[in-house]
């Protein structure tokens, strides 16, 4: 038996496989394929203060080994989320990592306040601040593209989330120096990091000769981006191991389709792994990845998942 449990900034999860925000809705739909309570935690679709209709369609384009999406954070708003979605998740025994966002740093705080005050707060094992979303105050630039904006948001979120419940900052890879953004987020009190969100991309419809997405740009995800996710996780955890960043858990996400894919992120330093786009290919993907990852850990002769986290840094061939 392999001990698959993992502890993320004091939050102990029975296993390290999670859904990815926006790729699993809020549980009901996947429950038809496997019990969501079997996952380490369930990560909800990013929720904002008000209901949002999202962007026009087409909202997606398939790309080689990946896809673009431009959903525009469609959702019911935090109040309906708390009284309906989160209650459903609690009733079904899920541990929940709630992904939140705001158009401004202050709005993040409002969302958190209402979340904490909601009826199902007890099932929440952590808050993921999706700072890879546009900052209305700063020309729509993504918060996580700038260390200061990242800091401001994370500080507010950390302030409002009760102590003992960890806050994760979710970073975008579309930056020159992800270690600098990680430093800003951790400096502002983030208990951990989630990496990576999608890469900005465009697909041209070669019949219509115009962008395929109605919103022009979209987020690139899927196996195509896995090497970028592994690199981001590696760089940040290498900085932690080298003492250039405070040590904190990293949740890996990006292109995980199989247990070996998950193992790549884990060996590079991720203490937990989210499965996103692969769920569209296989609705049971998150649950299957858990089974496969456990088999991989066993194949390598380990009996504790925790021993594999970051192992590639140790086994690296030094020049």
């Amino acid at each position: 038996m392999v001990d698959m449990s993992t502890t993320l900034a004091g939050m102990r999860l029975p296993n390290p496989v999670l859904t990815a925000s926006g790729c699993a809705a809020n549980g009901k739909e996947l429950q038809r394929f496997f019990p969501v309570a079997e996952l380490g935690a369930f990560v909800t679709k990013t929720v904002m203060r008000d209901p949002r209709s999202g962007r026009p369609t087409p909202r997606m384009a398939e790309t080689p080994s990946g896809m673009l999406n431009s959903i525009g954070l469609q959702g019911p708003g935090i109040d309906a989320f708390c009284t309906q979605d989160l209650v459903w998740l609690a009733d079904h025994g899920a541990r929940v990592l709630v992904s939140v966002a705001g158009n401004t740093a202050e709005e993040f705080g409002e969302v958190v306040d209402r979340l904490v005050a909601g009826p199902a707060w007890d099932c929440v094992v952590g808050v993921e601040a999706n700072i890879s979303c546009p900052n209305v105050a700063n020309r729509g630039l993504v918060f996580a593209c700038d260390p200061e904006s990242s800091e401001r948001v994370v500080r507010i979120v950390r302030d409002r989330v009760p102590e003992g419940v960890p806050v994760f900052a979710k970073l975008t890879p579309d930056v020159t120096d992800i270690v600098a953004i990680a430093a800003a987020a951790l400096g502002a009190g983030a208990d951990g990091l989630t990496m990576i969100n999608t890469l900005l991309g465009i697909v041209i419809d070669t019949d219509l000769l115009r962008p395929q997405l109605a919103g022009v740009t979209g987020g690139l995800s899927g196996p195509a981006v896995r090497p970028v996710a592994v690199r981001a996780i590696w760089q940040v955890t290498a900085a932690m191991r080298g003492g250039r960043l405070p040590t904190a858990p990293v949740i890996g996400v990006g292109g995980v389709r199989t247990g070996t894919d998950a193992l790549e992120l884990v060996a590079a330093g991720a203490a937990a792994v989210q499965v996103g786009t692969a769920t569209f290919n296989d609705p049971s993907a998150p649950r299957r990845v858990l089974t496969e990852l456990e088999a991989e850990v066993r194949r390598h002769g380990f009996d504790r998942f925790a021993d594999v986290v970051g192992i590639a840094h140790e086994r690296m061939v030094r020049p």
């Binding site: 996947l30 369609t57 087409p58 997606m60 109605a214």
Partner: protein, 291 residues
């Protein structure tokens, strides 16, 4: 969410060319037992080394809950992109992963009213099965099948078995009457005093079917075909502006709340030129200066 769904490792048992289409029969135990007309299946494409990650969705043409091979599902595929071409090239015994049945089926009338079923191109695929269900309930059923040209009509012969009368139109006049399905629909609704028009086909056709049905006193039930990344309700790519019973318009997922919608509930005004806008009065629509 109450409807059952399964994910099974299916197997192709037949692949027949029919006009411009490929008619595929898949063994997919469990799907047939749960399915109703109007639902669809989502198939993984490209095999183990595939770069095409997203499933392809197809209306269920017919099902056989059990047989020599276990339950089977039939679909009709128009091959144009990489996924549909891959499916069209499959040979018997090739494996195909199937998720289904998905979506909401065509609602059946409580009373034995007359119904008109309208299919554009391969959009007719789910209608024969629907026709049989309707006739079992005592409904009078007529079908209107239209396409660009004769080779793009699907199931005219089958239609003659499943329906009380069949009307055919083609854009180029190569079969039936030259013109569009909407050109003949009004007279059929009037003559049969149809209460419901069921339709499946391209967006522009569904819109005019809805208008014609409305003008002639029938309710339209249309099966839409939005671009879908997941088919199971988790990605939010397949949304359409639809007005609910409360009068509010929402961007709803056509894979779980559709693909069948009441035609007069669809906000056709927001749909044009291959883009669907968010109506300004939709719940959570961007406000001036806002998101």
């Amino acid at each position: 969410m109450s409807t059952g769904v399964v994910q099974v490792a299916g197997e192709l048992i037949a692949n027949r060319r029919v006009g411009a289409y490929h008619h595929l029969t898949l063994v997919a135990p469990g799907v047939a037992e749960l399915a109703d007309p109007g639902q669809f299946v989502a198939l993984a494409v490209g095999g183990p080394t595939s770069a095409t990650l997203l499933r392809r969705c197809f209306s269920i043409h017919k099902v056989k809950p059990s047989g020599t091979y276990g339950g089977t599902v039939d679909i009709v595929v128009a091959a144009h992109g990489p996924g549909t071409r891959w499916l069209a090239a499959l040979r018997p015994h090739d494996p195909v992963d199937v998720v289904g049945p998905l979506g909401r089926p065509f609602p059946l009338p409580a009373e034995p009213v007359a119904c008109v079923l309208v299919g554009g191109g391969y959009g007719s695929a789910p209608l024969f099965w629907l026709a049989e269900s309707l006739r079992e309930r005592g409904c009078h059923v007529e079908m209107v099948l239209g396409a660009a040209s004769e080779d793009r009509l699907f199931g005219v012969v089958e239609a003659r078995r499943s329906a009380d009368a069949v009307h055919v139109t083609t854009d180029d006049g190569s079969a039936g009457r030259r013109g569009w399905v909407s050109d003949v629909l009004g007279e059929v609704v009037d003559r049969t005093e149809a209460a419901v028009v069921y339709a499946c086909g391209p967006m522009a056709m569904l819109r005019s079917v809805t208008e014609v049905a409305g003008r002639h006193g029938a309710v339209a039930q249309v099966a839409v075909e939005e671009s879908m990344a997941c088919g199971i309700g988790v990605c939010m790519t397949c949304v359409m502006p639809v007005t609910g019973s409360d009068g509010a318009t929402r961007m709803v997922r056509s894979c779980v709340e559709g693909p069948v919608f009441r035609g007069d509930r669809v906000r056709w005004d927001a749909i044009s030129g291959g883009v669907t806008r968010v109506p300004e009065d939709a719940v959570g629509a961007p406000r001036a200066g806002g998101h």
